[in-house]
Amino acid sequence: MTEPPRLTVVGAGPAGLAGALAAAARGVRVTLVDAAEQAGGQFYRQPAPALGARRPQALHHQWRTWERLRDALARHRAAGRITHLTDHHVWCLERESDAGPVTVHALRGPAQEVGVTVRADAVLLATGGYERVLPFPGWTLPGVVTAGGAQAMLKGGLVLPGRTVVVAGTGPLLLPVATGLAAAGARVAALVESADPAALLRRAPALAAQPGKLAEGAGYAARLLRHGVRTLARHTVVAAHGTGRLEAVTVAALDRDGRLRPGSARRIPCDTLAVGHGMLPHTDLAETLGCTLSGTAVRVDAEQRTDVPGVWAAGEATGVGGAALALAEGHIAGRSAAARLHGTTPDPGRWAAADRARTRLREFATALDDVYAPPAGWADRVPDGTVVCRCEEVTAGQVRDAAGTLGAGDLRTVKLLTRAGMGWCQGRMCGPAVAGLAGCPLTAGRRPFARPVPLGVLAALPEKE
């Protein structure tokens, strides 16, 4: 008997789980690596067992899908087909040659101090995405959190981020966040959406193919109504107020060109603002491996293969489109990887259902993207004094100066001349805002280290010839 081929899956969200399960079921030895303590990713984020949640499913829809994934993972783990490394933070992937093994370098434990390496014949990148937040005066006040952060606190810690909440920004993710918070007992004072969701209906061709999505949308609407949540479409948060802590926000209506309607500003008292402007793919690990990106996402073919041999990618990392799309892509990636690792050519006919779902969901995602774009004039409304990079405390005015007479022309030179993006988050938080203010395209930054690495761990790497 020869050893079974090995696949490392980075990310245990919907995409990574689906990929790991599909590959493990087809004779591949899988190592599933994730920074979290439990499988699930963003969507199926689980409360820590110690919290003893009685009905975690109340916070999740599609609970049955999750139960299937979770139980299958448990079976494969018991059978030794999947090894699940929790609390492993991957900082770099390395491939020495096109045919050689892929080495995953991770940091173990909550303190992320112990270096660990995992070798495999191939890797599936299912690293998900992160939230885009655009700045406005007062956005750094305590009490302002990201929409995803609020959701994570709710799902993972079973705590309410505040008592009176305004949910604001743009994108379909604001809906589950608002309903989730309301269901958990928060008073949601308003859902402030800068786009016009009615525009989605005008995208009839994409939507007609999405009966499920329409039903989901209707379900959210009904729940918002039940909890008495006021939806302010074509509105934006102009400023957050408070001394030391958030006390209120000012919102205003937008006209068709994305400008503020004069006289429409009003103040809404609240102690929490959950704000988000959509998601962006995590591409650091792929970029360092040399995978080509298209726009800000990892580029993949019909089998979810990147253009680097032995490297697959699925889910939010390849473009933002929701949990169901992540599942479909992960499944295809896992099957393709299994076939290729066994030296055979996969038959796409075997995953026709997942393929159809993928096509449909990607079309839908494109429609969503068009409708839920940040409002046109957002960058002009950020005053010079507003901090845009929190790590390095760089203001909008400094970014404008760098991109103006100092002659910076892209995100990298703006960073060099202002330090925006040089801090702990390495520009993940401020990148989109800085690009918008500087008037340059948002490019996926080059981040060879996906996580900060202790020098001692670097120094202890094995020496090569």
Binding site: C92, G407, L416, M422, W424, Q426, P452, L455, L458, E463
Partner: protein, 386 residues
């Protein structure tokens, strides 16, 4: 319609060297346009470190240029010091063994004769200068003239304050020459710019620019990685490096030699750099390079073991086969001046280079002998590494 502009000098390349050339040329009374195909500081200037070193240079033309530049940097800093994060912090070169220390002291003695301030420090007194240095070092030499700037800021502020017209995002696609070979300007992707003088400050791409003018200048890339840590309170006071650095600069070997300079920055992070490798323009991460940097730094400063590296980046130093830059007029193409090929010292050597170029442009006697920097020197002595 292409627009046609005229001026006295076109400087090609808005890196540190081009910015310095523009600065001194304008001060010499010339009407200057500074052209770059990318943004300001987007080339190697934005991908290196800002050590202004005399300590690593052996007596000779490069050291003379470094000493001239050190004086000019101090002058520039009077006006721009805070904006460009100039810090005259001094360097400390250490040796871990007695033989290495002997070699270092000999080297320093030669430098002293050439005008460098180099103060021997006994092993037992190193801790007074650098309290967190690893114990047990044989000794070192303190170089008070070593200083530091933030290169991207220095180039951008000098370029803006120079008074030259900035043309970022404009690529030079040709050098215009009359039938008799005289240069009269450049062709760009946005029209021609006419001028009786063109300065090649295109750094690592200086060979390509020379080729556009029909002359050969064998500038090659030499890759270097730098590690950047999380921001820390000031823990490292000087530029500290191990003595094997000196040997490595002049080395002709293509293999990786690590000789990290460890330094704190005004903004907080500790910078560790840099490796020296000849691998062409390959930007992909070399874990071997960062391992060597980290190991070297932890060896010098053990507390760094638990400090985190936030990022690493690579740049490509422009080098010529004899490791000296090309500075001055090109007799093969009258009107063309070169200011490129400064390898790992282009930030430090920029003001001196700019001053010498301005003198050449205005027909003044150069402050230093330009013979060692002649751009045409590789045509005759067969020093081409290609």
């Amino acid at each position: 319609m292409t627009k046609r502009l005229t001026c006295d000098v076109v400087v090609v390349g808005a890196g540190m060297v081009g910015a310095a050339c523009a600065w001194y040329a304008v001060r010499a009374g010339l009407d200057v346009r500074l052209v770059d195909r990318g943004p300001v500081s987007g080339g190697t200037t934005g991908a290196g470190e800002g050590n202004l070193l005399v300590s690593d240079k052996e007596p000779g033309p490069e050291l003379e240029l470094a000493l001239l530049s050190a004086r000019l940097w101090a002058e520039l800093a009077r006006e721009h010091g805070a904006a460009i994060e100039y810090e005259p912090k001094g360097g400390l070169v250490v040796a871990s063994t007695a033989p290495a220390l002997d070699a270092l002291r000999d080297f320093a003695a030669g430098q002293r004769d050439a005008g460098v301030t180099a103060v021997p420090v006994d092993g037992g007194r190193l801790a007074e200068l650098e309290p967190r240095l690893a114990p047990g070092m044989a000794g070192g030499v303190h170089y008070p003239q070593d200083a530091q700037v933030m290169p991207a800021l220095a180039a951008a502020h000098l370029a803006r304050a120079s008074g030259a017209a900035l043309h970022p995002g404009q690529a030079v696609t040709g050098v215009l020459r009359t039938a008799d070979g005289t240069v009269y300007g450049v062709r760009t992707d946005r029209g021609e710019i006419h001028a009786p003088a063109v300065v090649n400050a295109a750094g690592t791409w200086g060979g390509d620019l020379a080729a556009l003018a029909g002359v050969r200048l064998p500038v090659l890339p030499r890759r270097g990685f730098v590690l950047v840590t999380e921001p820390l309170p000031r823990m490292v006071r000087h530029k500290v490096y191990a003595a094997d650095y000196v040997a490595d600069v002049a080395s002709d070997s293509a293999a990786l030699r690590s000789s990290p300079v460890v330094e704190g920055t005004a903004a907080g992070p500790v910078l560790i750099g840099a490796t020296r490798e000849r691998v062409g323009f390959d930007r992909s991460l070399s874990l071997d390079a960062v391992r060597a940097l980290a190991a070297g730094a932890v060896g010098l400063f053990p507390f760094l073991e638990r400090v985190r590296a936030l990022r690493t980046y690579a740049g490509f130093r422009p080098y010529l086969p004899d490791h000296l830059p090309a500075i001055g007029p090109d007799p093969r193409a009258p009107g063309l001046f070169h200011a490129c090929g400064h390898e790992g010292a282009g930030i430090g050597l920029a003001p001196g280079t700019g001053r010498l170029i301005a003198q050449a442009l205005t027909g003044k006697a150069p402050e230093l002998d330009l013979t060692p920097f002649r751009p045409e020197r590789f045509d005759t002595d067969g020093g081409d590494a290609r």
